[in-house]
Symmetry: C2
Subunit: 687 residues, 2 copies
């Protein structure tokens, strides 16, 4: 049975057994009531007393049920769960939802291992344990205690049942159609990756909202999101961003949260849209479900009152939308039908006298020029808002472009909101929230356009390190001459260099390089060469070379001194740094920045899950704030960013070509107006 | 009659005339209905037909009313308003609300001038025109079409009636008590400053929420806010922050919005708390009204589900709250009564099994150690949330410390929210919004503590410029030698210098200063000296001095060359910049930064409305992100920040001592480990 049909057994069972007490007030009782209320009838109750409830017959084992059971919903006590699964297996149950808690989240890893074993033995796929169940509105199936939402195109996948529950409750209250909801709890079997893969092809799902605190496998996760975003937007909350947030995720899921900056990069790389609050997730799902995505960032705001229009415009510009003034031609058009007291800039203020026809005509006119529009109506109890909503909906339909609304305050315009909803125009509780949704939608529009050129292959054939470099790495830190040679082999420019073990060799090496030179200590014991006097800059002649050699010998007293390495002295290079490190969730990660104060104080670093292709490498370079320093501010020459991008691509592949490598720092790299060269290198092998 | 008793006539009239048509559906009709529904009976209708409505008698002029009228609410057509005011004046009306629009906001400045004249002639104080009226719940008076809110301690003052209307509607829906609301429209007479002054002493008002797009007078505004914040928190939205937002405020109020960074500085300097959205304003007002302000930033989060706790913790740390782990002693205490499956880190997760007693005891315990707590309850329909609310309220009362709640989703916990509200514990729609409110409250707690040492005198005796400097300024840009001398007189260290007009004088000057020196052109025609070759660095001997003089003469060909100025060559100074400029709303503004890339690319500048005292000057220095560069990163010596702060204080006073001065740039200033010295100066006089 393939992956998807297994999950199909979960979502589309022909019959369901609820295993657990059905006494009044017990979870089994409430679950069965919820399932029946939701319109699903093929339910059986299983508990030691064989107690039925409502119209549902009771049995004391699943195997006793005289019909095949596809899905078991388990809420029986923790200790009984392995036995229940055994019973299910014998009865031919294909999928289970284990709502029961008390496993790894409270330290009971043995119990968790046991249920995993039993389920695997019988080929049962399951969600949970310690989860809040799921919803499949298309199958009228609600095995969960959370609110039953209306049907529609949004799937919610949540590592936290409570976060999911809030979204479902809002979906019912504020009108958001849900296709599927899954709370996957401790994800012992099915996890976020499985559900993303399933939802990518689920015809009932148009938008995926995901709440995660950690991922099972970073690379697989990225692949699954990438597949999904090819077909539909994926909006993600990754919680546990901060120190205390991370501590909390550790305690309540027992999972290790990766460094947040890496998650941030990974999510962007696979086309997900990251948000930080449940409200943002909800709003963005709503926007995507009911409106097309803007093909650009020019938005018009049409309002009937000034202040809320200004607030929406402020927020829109804060988050990268462009609230430009209408063209003279458009102003001319608008002035033909709008009264003279209306402001024709943007926001376009129809004033409190704005009419149905005013909204309709204005929106139709501006949508000829803008990518999307926000229609604001700040109502008083004495205003006929429904007619305004009609004008807005007509314009949205006729234009085919994204139109969102901010009809408020909510209670006063309840009727209009219902009308907007019915005609498929998404309304938000403030104009600020409406433009935030538009911005997220524009992000997706953009990344959808970019995705064509994307996807550097992550499978690169692993090469062996050459003998001397491997030897050099044996003490886990590579020696500089070997590391430089290795970089050169891999397409990364290094300076001409000489290795010397005696004063005479050193002088000879200096002469060959040509004065002035730099002389550095080579010792597996010395990681920070400058700090101990192991780097002598600007060696100008033979005499200085001898002195430098002597000084380095002295600095390395008591250390395993292998010799010195000699480089030409480099001037006028702009220093940058390239780094490779290992993230526990995502593996190799590549970083770029200017080093020194720019990284230490300003944290001005760009980061990607490695490897990166040429397009992504260029994006990394462009995204640092110090970019003007490389482009030539204040009369300096612009630096060779083309070569830098090439090197970044080669550099990012190193951990895949050489799986023994753990970390590489190139710091500094000297970047010239033509070309670049590595100034220092540090390589650390895997343990 | 003093200022406050005039405004008292507005808020506490003995009788009210509503001037305008009272036909069904007209604004006058709706207004009278609203006023009557609100519980105020002493109303008269005034219109040409002398038409009464409901129980209200009609007259054809205010003067015909047989009782004294204190307040007129005017909704008659634009053109009639001056005549109505004349009638009011003759009838002895003391205050008016001019809701009628059609004045300066649509270009009718003449009409506006006319109503101003008539009102002044009769001593009538008024709000509007083009406003949404006001509310005084304490007097049961609602001359507005906006929602009638419940009574309580929050005053809302709004330049936008619609923004105010949204807040009033939310106040009713989500439970926020309002003392007064004022929409002041075109603020031809009474403005935000008047209302802030009134509210500072208004016993019914505990919190002030302000929405502004611009201010009438920046300095007066700051003074009024400062007076108010001595007694109660002032929360401000300043809209029109962005390019398009500003364009919108221009079109709908005709007022010039100052540069946003200056508003930001000014609001902080006078102790206001700035927020950016209506939701934030609403939440913060609610927090302040119902909970004491935290005396620090350590908060505990007590929750019954993981995900929402993590999201709240993330947001809390993002905005500067500290969600630290409990001390071992506190953990010990908690473990005595909490079940072992509870997470005792922070967030403290009571799990779905959390009880009334669990919340009560946990909150009481944590509030011994933390400054404030958030209690989260993510409810399902099957949970008894009211008992949890009881536990929370008990703990809030007994501890006396700030406790806020996030009981959600709203519809499911409606009963608990009502309970929390009744017992005065503020509930927010998400945990994220709850901690945002706590953060704002902690800001106020902090600024309240700091305010003791604050308030540099803004009144400094104006001095005359000395003759030669004044002469030098006659062409609006001062010459460098005079400007340097002037700085020295005012306590700002400048280098030793010589002015020379001939090659011989130049050589003599260089010798007196001591080689190496810097030679610069002195010409009123040359503003950017370096760009035209007018600065010669590192002049090493007499020969070089002659060559430099010649080069400068050549560079100044065709310009009014006055001579050269000679300074010692300065090395090793960290370059910083100090600037003074004029803001249209706030007058002199002082800026500090590191210059070059730090200001151009990073926008790393601190800004204050001038003058600043020593404490504020230190804060300016501390707040730049590049501070580590001045404190001595990477083995450099720390710079003399004490002297810098002294100079900043003196510098910030210059525009007050010398009102003729408009702008001063000291760039660079060389900052040493001991002392500092100005490297270049540019002074521009007022036109």
């Amino acid at each position: 049975m393939d992956h998807e049909s297994r999950i199909a057994n979960l979502f589309y069972p022909q019959s369901v057994a609820v295993v657990g007490s059905t006494s009044v007030g017990k979870i089994g009782y409430e679950l069965i009531r919820q399932i029946l209320d939701g319109g699903y009838q093929d339910v059986f109750a299983v508990n030691p007393k064989a107690q039925g409830v409502f119209s549902v017959p009771g049995y004391d084992a699943v195997i006793k049920i005289d019909r095949p059971v596809d899905l078991a919903v388990i809420v029986s006590p923790t200790a009984t769960v392995p036995g229940v699964l055994e019973d299910c297996g014998q009865a031919g149950v294909k999928a289970a939802v284990i709502i029961t808690a008390g496993f790894s989240e409270v330290g009971n890893s043995a119990g968790e291992a046991e249920i995993k074993r039993v389920a695997r033995e019988h080929g049962i796929r399951f969600i949970g344990p310690n989860c809040a169940g799921f919803v499949n509105t298309g199958h009228h199936l609600f095995p969960t205690l959370e609110t039953r939402p209306p049907a529609g195109g949004v799937a919610i996948v949540a590592q936290s049942g409570a976060v999911g529950g809030v979204i479902l409750a809002w979906a019912k209250e504020y009108g958001l159609g849900i296709s599927k909801f899954v709370s996957y709890g401790n994800r012992v079997d099915l996890n976020e990756i499985d559900f993303l893969r399933y939802l990518a092809d689920d015809a009932e799902t148009k938008v995926v909202g995901l709440y995660i605190e950690s991922v099972t496998d970073g690379r697989e996760f990225m692949q699954a999101v990438r597949e999904c975003t090819r077909h539909k937007p994926v909006i993600v909350i990754k919680a546990g961003r901060t120190r205390s947030g991370r501590r909390a995720t550790l305690s309540h899921t027992g999972s290790m949260a990766g460094a947040d900056a890496v998650y941030d990069a990974a999510l962007r790389q696979c086309g997900a849209i990251r948000v930080h609050t449940i409200e943002e997730l909800f709003d963005l799902c709503k926007g995507f479900l009911y409106a097309p995505s803007p093909q650009g960032r020019h938005i018009a705001i049409v309002t009937n009152s000034g202040g809320p229009g200004v607030l929406a415009a402020d927020r829109a510009e804060d988050i990268g939308l462009d609230v430009a003034e209408p063209s003279p031609a458009l102003k001319e058009t608008l002035s033909e039908f709008l009264p003279s007291h209306c402001a024709l800039k943007n926001p376009i203020d129809l004033t409190v006298e704005g009419t149905e026809d005013g909204y309709r005509k204005t929106l139709l006119a501006v949508l000829q020029e803008y990518d999307a529009a926000l229609a604001l109506n700040i109502a008083t109890p004495y205003l006929d808002s429904v007619s305004l909503a009609r004008g807005v909906c007509d314009a949205a339909e006729q234009s085919g472009k994204p139109v969102v609304t901010g009809f408020l305050p909510e209670r006063i315009v309840a009727e209009s909101i219902a009308y907007l909803q019915e005609r498929g125009v998404p309304n938000f509780s403030t104009g600020e929230r409406a433009v935030a949704a538009l911005a997220g939608m524009a992000d997706y529009g953009e990344s959808a356009n970019q995705r064509v050129g994307e996807a550097a292959s992550e499978r690169v054939i692993a090469l062996s390190l050459n003998r001397s470099f491997a030897d050099s790495l044996n003490r886990s830190i590579a020696l500089e001459p070997e590391a430089m040679a290795w970089l050169r082999e891999n397409g990364i420019p290094v300076p001409d260099l000489r290795f010397a073990t005696t004063p005479a060799e050193a002088v000879q090496g200096c002469r060959e390089i040509g004065y002035p030179v730099v002389m550095k200590v080579v010792s597996p014991d010395i990681l920070h060469k400058s700090d101990c006097g192991g780097v002598i800059l600007d060696v100008e002649d033979d005499e200085a070379a001898l002195a430098a050699f002597e000084a380095i010998e002295k600095a390395a007293t008591g250390k395993d001194l292998r010799g010195v390495v000699i480089y030409p002295l480099i001037r006028d290079g702009q220093e940058v740094l390239l780094g490779l490190s290992q993230d526990p969730q995502f593996g190799p990660v590549v970083a770029f920045g200017l080093g020194g104060i720019y990284t230490e104080v300003w944290r001005d670093i760009s980061l990607r899950v490695a490897p990166v292709d040429r397009v992504e490498a260029e994006a990394m370079i462009r995204e640092i704030k110090s970019l003007p320093l490389l482009q030539g501010v204040r009369g300096q020459e612009p630096r060779d960013l083309d070569s830098l991008a090439d090197v970044l691509v080669n550099f990012s592949r190193l951990p895949f070509r050489y799986p023994e490598i753990s970390e590489v720092d190139l710091n500094p790299v000297f970047l010239f107006s033509q070309g670049l060269v590595v100034g220092d290198v540090r390589v650390i092998r895997r343990n």
